[in-house]
């Protein structure tokens, strides 16, 4: 028995091995409503907005093409485009903050 570590379950400390998958667990973070993230890896094929622009809820901000589908990225609420973090033709991974917005 090697690599024994302390592991807390309901206030009791157990001596046990902790596999990497558990030792390296990512801390949960509350999602930021002002961040528009990619929901699938793909390519930005068009961007319709500029930084500083005022946009109404439901307007199309950009097209994210993935798996041969052109996905419209829509404004979730009335607000302003604060920052655009991607360019046209850029390949983006999943969960990348593509746009930062503000109500």
């Amino acid at each position: 028995m090697s690599n024994l570590k302390e592991f807390n379950i309901d206030g009791t400390i157990y001596k046990t091995e902790i596999p990497e998958s558990v030792a390296n667990r990512k801390k949960w973070e509350r999602p930021n409503p002002n961040h528009i993230k990619s929901f699938i890896p793909g390519t930005i094929v068009e961007i319709f907005v500029k930084e500083g622009q005022e946009i109404k809820e439901g307007e199309c901000l950009m097209i994210l093409q993935a798996m041969k589908m052109k996905n419209k990225i829509l404004m979730p609420f009335d607000g302003i485009i604060e920052k655009i973090n991607v360019r046209v033709d850029e390949k983006v991974p999943n969960r990348l903050v593509m746009l930062e917005i503000k109500a």
Partner: protein
């Protein structure tokens, strides 16, 4: 005229097919550390027992120049043989013939031997070594896969189905192994994935090798797709043969009994388990202390190690062991360990193998990741599998049996046939520390020295509930036994359960939380 000429002609034809994809392709196969498809089959079955069918099958593709190509056996070998004298059906994809690619006739050969295995009620062993769908044959090759998957499902729970991954097995092809009972992988040889490194690189820009993406280690340690991991093909074949000694040939039979043997003297049950419930030990040694000849054939050794599953024997009969492993993550249940145990329990139940559960677990793994990964529906699989199982089910509570875990791990309430507990068992809603903090919250908060008061209250709770006697007083535990008596009690209860009848409401099928 004698028959000689016809016989010589037949021999010549066979000889040609036996060359597979030819000398060059075979050399390439060998250079990769792989045996040829026929060598693999003959290494698994009893000597001279293999008989091949459909040797002269040829493909009917007429597009993309396929009409000019002759593919021996259409890239797959099917046949029957025996293992330890018992009949089996086998197929082996031949990578030397068109990369073992699957076309219509290739698939038809596989489904033929599958139908045969199911009809004859004998195990099916499939050796996968294929580049995937034969693209020139278009939808015909997809149809072929579909027909295989359907038969895998049909045969599931009727005959044992073993998948041996000895090469690439990519794209849709992976679903046949995934539908079978046991998947065997070999270091550096097995490669399984849905989308390969090339696609991942194009779409995501992520660079990863086949081995890192879907190699033997990955599937035996991370994904849980594989059940047995071997360093080389010969070790893999030994594992296959060993597994077959523990399982019955079909679902209306029992596994063959072996001569009973006592456990080895070196496994001293009282010395394996520490008294302090927070100290670890290897639960597999407890299994070895009670099983015949201290034999334990572990399944999914590298995946979700916080639960241990596998086969052993008691009084010569195959037993499925399910045990929490305090050595890893204190033996908690989580998404992966629930999946691992639940499927094994269903396997044992389908194939008439009694289940012995050894319990020592402090609860479920806490964490947002676990909750969001669906530990509720994953955890529910264990409850479902144990409740559903009608084979003899016996539980021994070694130390901790807290909360939902106590219920899940084949408790009386899931209709365990026999519930035994060691005097070290702690059967309670939660661990003493957590429980005391809730029950005595006011006293602890209001005390001059909260820490001292907490200690006092924890001790009070331990004294009252951290034992097997409260549960025994309700009849939830049948008897509290000395560790030394464990094997004796198990042998007796298994004997008593031999003709167990447990009829359930008739239904088409349940709806387990898949």
């Amino acid at each position: 005229m004698s028959l000689k000429r016809n016989i010589l002609d037949l021999r010549k034809r066979k000889e040609k097919v036996l060359q597979g994809g030819g000398e060059k392709a075979i050399q390439k196969q060998v250079a990769m550390g792989k045996l040829t498809a026929r060598e693999r089959i003959t290494s698994i079955v009893d000597e001279d027992s293999f008989h091949e069918y459909d040797m002269f099958v040829e493909h009917e593709a007429r597009d993309f120049g396929m009409e000019k190509k002759q593919l021996h056996g259409d890239g797959v070998i099917i046949g029957t043989g025996t293992i330890y004298g018992q009949p089996v059906c086998l197929f082996a994809q031949d990578f030397t013939v068109a990369g073992g690619s699957l076309g219509l006739m290739h698939a038809r050969k596989i489904t033929k031997i599958m139908d045969h295995a199911l009809k004859m009620r004998v195990p099916l062993i499939g050796i996968n070594d294929s580049g995937g769908a034969r693209i020139q044959e278009g939808v015909n090759s997809l149809a072929g896969y579909g027909e295989i998957f359907f038969r895998n499902t049909l045969a599931s729970g009727v005959i044992p189905q073993l998948s041996v991954i000895l090469g690439p097995c990519a794209g849709g092809a992976v679903y046949s192994p995934a539908l079978t009972d046991f998947v065997f992988v070999v270091e550096n040889i097995s490669k399984m994935f849905i989308t390969g490194p090339e696609v991942i690189k194009t779409v995501l820009g992520e660079e990863i090798s086949m081995e890192e993406l879907g190699g033997a280690k990955v599937h035996s340690e991370i994904t849980g797709n594989a059940h047995f991991y071997a360093q080389n093909e010969l070790e893999c074949f030994e594992q296959i043969k060993k597994l077959l000694t523990y399982i019955p040939w079909h679902n209306e039979k029992k596994a063959r009994p072996f001569p009973p043997k006592p456990p080895k003297a070196e496994y001293k049950i009282e010395e394996i388990v520490p008294h302090d419930p927070t100290q670890p030990y290897d639960i597999r040694n407890v299994i070895r202390a009670i099983s015949d000849d201290s034999d334990f054939f572990e399944v999914m050794e590298g995946f979700a190690r916080n639960i241990v599953i596998g086969f052993g024997r008691m009084n010569g009969e195959t037993i499925g062991f399910v045990a929490n492993q305090p050595l890893v993550l204190a033996g908690v249940l989580d998404c992966d360990s629930s999946d691992k145990a639940a499927r094994f329990i269903r396997y044992c139940d389908a194939f008439n193998i009694p289940i012995v559960t050894l319990e020592d677990m402090p609860g479920y793994l806490p964490g947002v990741d676990q909750e969001h990964a669906g530990v509720i529906r994953h955890g529910a699989k264990i409850l479902y599998a144990y409740s559903e199982a009608t084979v003899p089910k016996i539980t021994v509570i070694v130390r901790k049996a807290y909360g939902g875990g106590y219920i899940a791990m084949n408790s009386r309430h899931m209709k365990a046939d026999f519930m035994f507990a060691w005097p070290t068992a702690e059967i309670a809603v939660m661990g003493p520390e957590g429980a005391a903090n809730i029950i005595f919250r006011k006293e602890i908060m209001g005390a001059e020295d909260p820490d001292a008061m907490r200690k006092e209250k924890v001790a009070e709770y331990k004294e009252k509930f951290a034992n097997p006697y409260v549960a025994a007083a309700k009849g939830y535990i049948d008897t509290v036994i000395e560790p030394e008596e464990t094997r004796k009690m198990l042998l007796h209860s298994l004997e008593v359960s031999m003709n167990k009848v447990d009829r359930r409401p008739s239904k088409k099928h349940g709806i387990p939380p898949f």
